[in-house]
Symmetry: C2
């Protein structure tokens, strides 16, 4: 059996994702799709709209055969770390190829870019440092440095978010000496961060979330952009848990945390650097909403995403020491769900997996997974007092989801 791997967030699963899965399976000539999916918190430092279990159901009902959780230590990080974690999982579970969506759509330009930057590493890194000193953010510095390297080769544009991710997937494959074959499909219309609907059936997850919150979590304006299963599961989540998750729901907890901690304690938190702890505490005193808080702390140097990730690590109390200990490859394969074909694949190949497969949390004792458990518990605090309970204790009770 031949498996193609995809790296996803599905926040929520939409028609563009369905198109990507189909293209991935076809171009890889695969029998099944294995998705590495972020847990309850995402790369932009945000809570997912609905829990990882609901997003797993969406995936399995729409073409994914196996869902493995991308651990918190990778899922909530910059592209390079995110990619390293995801690739290490797809490698360990025996994927033959991976397929990612990109603005470019040309896998050769990605390969050339990785090789080109590897051979110009010193100059490139120096340029980045120089640009950072002018006060811009890291992603901006990277993009500027890249532009300044003139090359006659066919390089991929590292100013687009999915190209950047794809570039890091290929870099991770190379550096991990993985034999996985990389493939890419050109994204249809919608840009990753688009806030407006682009076509009649394809829209970015960002625009879908925006429409959901703008319509008071009423599904109807997004129905044309998502499969029926997504639509139904979103409705079910609302009726089970009361509302979707967004940062505002966590603001009073983050604020509480900031106002009872000392600057020294905050400095132990991952990504809290350069004295930002003082600015965070001062802003927390006056900001009534999370949005207000973010506006108070935003500077040119820090992207919105980076600040949200800092906030998230403070919320989950994730220390520098914990993240450092974890290393840059995953330590386990946490199974969130599977289809019939997925189950067959797991039964047939699991003895060859190079990482332990965890279907039952209580059977696994490694402390790395504590970060995921903690993150899931903290995610539950985004719900009201009444609906919190089920989610709070789900980590140990929920078996992997099975869809025939």
């Amino acid at each position: 059996m031949k498996a193609v791997g995809v790296i996803v967030e599905y926040n929520p699963f939409h028609n563009g994702h369905a198109y990507h899965l189909q293209a991935a399976k076809e171009s890889a000539q695969a029998n099944l799709v294995i998705a590495v999916m972020s847990g309850n918190f995402l790369q932009r430092g945000e809570p997912a709209l609905v829990s990882k279990w609901y997003r797993t159901k969406m995936a399995l009902l729409n073409g994914v055969d196996i869902v493995i959780e991308l651990p918190y230590q990778f899922a909530t990080q910059k592209a390079e770390t995110f990619a390293n974690g995801a690739i290490s999982i797809l490698d360990a579970i025996g994927c033959h190829s991976i397929c990612f969506g990109s603005e470019s759509g040309d896998i050769h330009s990605f390969l050339q870019t990785v090789n080109f930057l590897d051979s110009h590493k010193e100059l490139f890194d120096e340029n980045i440092k120089k640009n950072i000193k002018t006060g811009v953010s890291y992603p901006k510095a990277l993009s500027l440095s890249f532009q300044s390297l003139s090359s006659t080769e066919n390089l991929v544009g590292l100013d687009k978010p999915n190209n950047i991710l794809g570039f890091h997937y290929l870099k991770a494959l190379k550096h991990q000496k993985s034999s996985i074959v990389p493939l890419t499909v050109k994204r249809k219309n919608a840009d990753y961060h688009d806030e407006h609907f682009a076509t009649e059936t394809i829209a970015s997850a960002t625009s879908i979330r925006k429409a959901l919150f703008a319509s008071n979590e009423n599904n109807s304006p997004i129905e044309q952009y998502v499969p029926d299963a997504t639509s139904r599961l979103l409705k079910e989540y609302l009726s089970d848990y009361g509302h979707f998750h967004e940062w505002e729901n966590y603001w009073s907890y983050l604020r509480f945390r900031l106002l009872h901690s000392s600057p020294d304690e905050l400095r132990e938190i991952y990504e809290v650097e350069e004295g930002i702890e003082h600015r965070l505490i001062a802003a927390a005193l006056d900001a009534v909403t999370f949005k207000e808080f973010m506006q108070k702390i935003k500077t040119k140097r820090y992207t919105w995403t980076r600040l949200q990730r800092i906030c998230l690590h403070i919320l989950t109390n994730t220390k520098k020491a914990e993240m450092k200990r974890s290393g840059d490859k995953a330590a386990y394969l946490r199974l969130l769900g599977m289809t019939g074909i997925g189950k067959e694949y797991l039964n047939k190949y699991k003895s060859q997996f190079t990482l332990p497969l965890i279907s039952k949390l209580s059977a696994y004792k490694e402390r790395d997974i504590l970060l995921d458990i903690k993150a899931s518990r903290i995610y539950a605090f985004g719900l009201g007092n009444q609906t919190r309970e089920k989610l709070l204790n789900q980590e140990y009770k929920q078996p992997p989801i099975y869809v025939e």
Copy 2:
């Protein structure tokens, strides 16, 4: 001018307190009353019903002339530490006498008890240790040890809460070599912890709070037990802030704190000992309410009060190291309010006070007071998102309350 000191919580101020003030002033033949009052959190490890500012107003409108805050580091502690802090403040501010309510009412029996126990200290301490080994709580062990010391002298019964406090006031006076004259008045009818109304006009604060919460914070059932000013201020608090403070309002924050902390971190918190951190984390997973949580963690060894204090220090993130650093005497006199006579007294004598008088928080830089500021901010989290703001920033904005 002759000042008599009282040590109070006023949660809320009731007729029994008015009686105590009158008796104190008379028996001390004093011109004015100085109260050392706990801030927003109290000795039993609970949030006060209403903020210290409202309780200061109640005090000033009912016979107190100066209100000084008993700092968090003393107010939320066992009787001995509580007494040491309070006495050090009354001594520093020049009180001629103190007057406390007690079940005994006989100051000589208190003096004899202090002397008797000082001279039998070794035996007494040994007895306490022996009793603790049987698995009972510290207060129980103390009471049992005391009973086992046979004496022909007139000793005070150390099985009553106000006698115990009084005993510690006298012990503190002796050990601090204070020249303050101790006086006591016999409490009228109501026992400290009584949950039921005892007479037609005097009721314990516990029974008053119980009636308030039982009647959905409607004042009418308690009006006969409190002065008009209390009644009016309680109504005003409800209309300004929405509800009274109780532990349940803080439960989701305490729970959040317990579920994102490691046992190692909790062990740094003051009073977290003997591995109780593991029991706290486990109970937090399942307890939907604070009451449920307390029932899960209660054992014979730990009194309800001690457990509440542990919870409080976790909520406010108060470390062992911070409490240790503070020492057993107060470092400042934080003025919460005064009457005209109180003002006259302060102007006349403040140059002789042995501790700095703080009327404006921003003018005082000692880090000891950070505990009080933090406690006040955390207290604000017991309110809803809308009403929290005013309280959250009151510490630096509120001048001492002045009642002519």
